[in-house]
């Protein structure tokens, strides 16, 4: 589904990604973790071309991102993305947030988009908030709406960029619950997150990054059982002992 081949990226002279290679199979749930500044968010943003890269290639569902003929807007409309800061559109109601891209990008009718959007809003348990504005919702609720907004586009896979890092602790679980449910339904997911409980319960593989490199790419069992690299061991020791 997603193939990342030898991707390198520079900001000017500074190299942020160094020869990253991995792939995500259909139905697989991958957790990407690592210390801050390790390039994990940058890597996931490369997957739907929100960040350009200078070397290597990423192929999503058979479409190469480095091919100049690729319609990046069209590709992005098939790849759901959830951001750290939710990024709901503050000038639109929740319903409008859920329907606008369906109408303007997928060309769905108003009624069809509304029906689909509300279906997903109901799934994340926020039907009562349909006519409110994002600013009237809590962070956890906003993030659940953001997930519903991405799902309403019928994505072939979902990218999560630290979806719980900006939330108050008591709201983390309501978002993780939605993500766990999605994973169990077989959605292909690539999640940048520090939630190791989430990784343990639903991830198939864990990728550990440090200084722009993929240091460890292992099955969940191997990663938590016997991480090969010292870096990953230290990282795990630090975040699991709290």
């Amino acid at each position: 589904m997603i193939e990342i081949k030898n991707v390198s990226k520079w900001y000017g002279q500074f190299q942020v990604l160094t020869e990253c290679t991995t792939q995500v199979q259909k139905g697989e749930v991958i957790v990407v973790c690592g210390p801050s500044g390790s390039g994990k968010s940058t890597l996931i943003k490369c997957v739907n071309a929100l960040e350009p890269f200078q070397q290597g290639d990423i192929v999503v569902n058979g479409t190469s991102l480095s091919d100049r003929k690729t319609d990046l807007n069209k590709l992005r409309s098939h790849v759901g993305m959830v951001f750290q800061n939710f990024e709901l559109f503050p000038h639109m109601t929740i319903t409008q947030n859920l329907t606008i891209a369906q109408e303007k990008v997928l060309g769905r009718s108003k009624d069809e988009a509304r029906e689909k959007g509300l279906k997903f809003l109901d799934r994340v348990g926020l039907m009562a908030q349909a006519e409110k504005y994002p600013g009237q919702l809590s962070g956890g609720q906003q993030q659940r709406v953001a997930i519903a907004r991405a799902l309403a586009m019928d994505p072939i896979c979902m990218l999560f960029d630290e979806p719980t890092s900006a939330l108050d602790p008591e709201m983390v679980n309501e978002v993780l619950d939605v993500m766990v449910e999605l994973a169990k339904e077989g959605m292909t997911m690539m999640c940048v997150t520090h939630e190791m409980g989430f990784a343990r319960s639903v991830a198939h593989r864990v990728i550990f990054m440090d200084h722009g490199r993929i240091v460890e790419d292992a099955s969940k069992e191997d990663f938590f059982g016997k991480p090969r690299s010292d870096r990953a061991q230290q990282f795990l020791a630090k975040i699991l002992h709290h």
Partner: protein, 224 residues
């Protein structure tokens, strides 16, 4: 001791109202055209095309670096002569037209700077979210960025409109009878210049002060 005599004002009300209409016409045209053209300039300036970006910057810098009164004179004296030379035919009374064009083009430079700041006030994450949903960059600008930008900058746009309303009085240099120009002419005719100018000043004050109170209320609402 100067003896005030306000008696020439009531009879001049229809004339003054006409003048006020011209003032409003110039103001509104400059606001509408200025905001539309200013938005285009701001987008060009922030865009990735270096040629368009430089052209937009040059336009804005040029108009912001010359006095408005000169721009009004250019468009009255020079541009029509050029057009006459090109097209050959005589042009009628172009005072109002040239004032409308001059103000619209001049104000666009100021509006474009306000709008540019407004666009930049919208977070990069919002743009990423728009693109991630499959919007084209154009749709992201139109549906996501501009509505938020305009909301953020409404008080500034209104403040600029108030300044513009006052500045329209400069059309007296091309003999156009706007509100101020009419007041001056009536005062001159009746030998009551002091009264007419005081009256005109009071009218400008009432309109502008009410408008700025409105802006303050809007600002308080947006700050919430």
């Amino acid at each position: 001791m100067y003896e005030f005599d306000w008696s020439s004002i009531p009879g001049a009300i229809p004339l003054l109202a006409n003048g006020l209409l011209i003032t409003l016409e110039v103001t509104l045209t400059a606001i509408v055209v200025g905001i539309v053209w200013g938005t285009i300039l701001a987008i060009a300036r922030l865009g990735s095309n270096p040629v368009l970006s430089r052209l937009a910057a040059a336009y804005v810098n040029l108009f912001r670096s010359v006095p408005l009164v000169m721009v009004i004179l250019w468009f009255y004296l020079i541009v029509p002569q050029g057009l006459k030379a090109i097209f050959g035919n005589d042009i009628g009374d172009i005072r109002l037209t040239s004032a409308l064009v001059a103000f619209a083009l001049f104000e666009a430079a100021y509006y474009s700077e306000i709008i540019r700041a407004g666009i930049q006030s919208v977070s990069k994450g919002q743009i990423a979210a728009g693109l991630a949903l499959g919007f084209t960059p154009g749709q992201t600008m139109r549906l996501v960025v501009l509505p938020q930008a305009f909301r953020n900058m409404t008080p500034l746009l209104l403040t600029q409109a108030i300044i513009l309303f006052q500045d329209t009085s400069l059309v007296y240099v091309i003999g156009l009878s706007d509100f101020f120009g009419t007041a001056y002419k009536v005062g001159d005719r009746d030998g009551r210049l002091v009264e007419l100018l005081l009256f005109a000043g009071a009218v400008y004050f009432v309109i502008c002060f009410s408008a700025s109170l409105l802006v303050k209320r809007l600002q308080a609402r947006f700050a919430k």
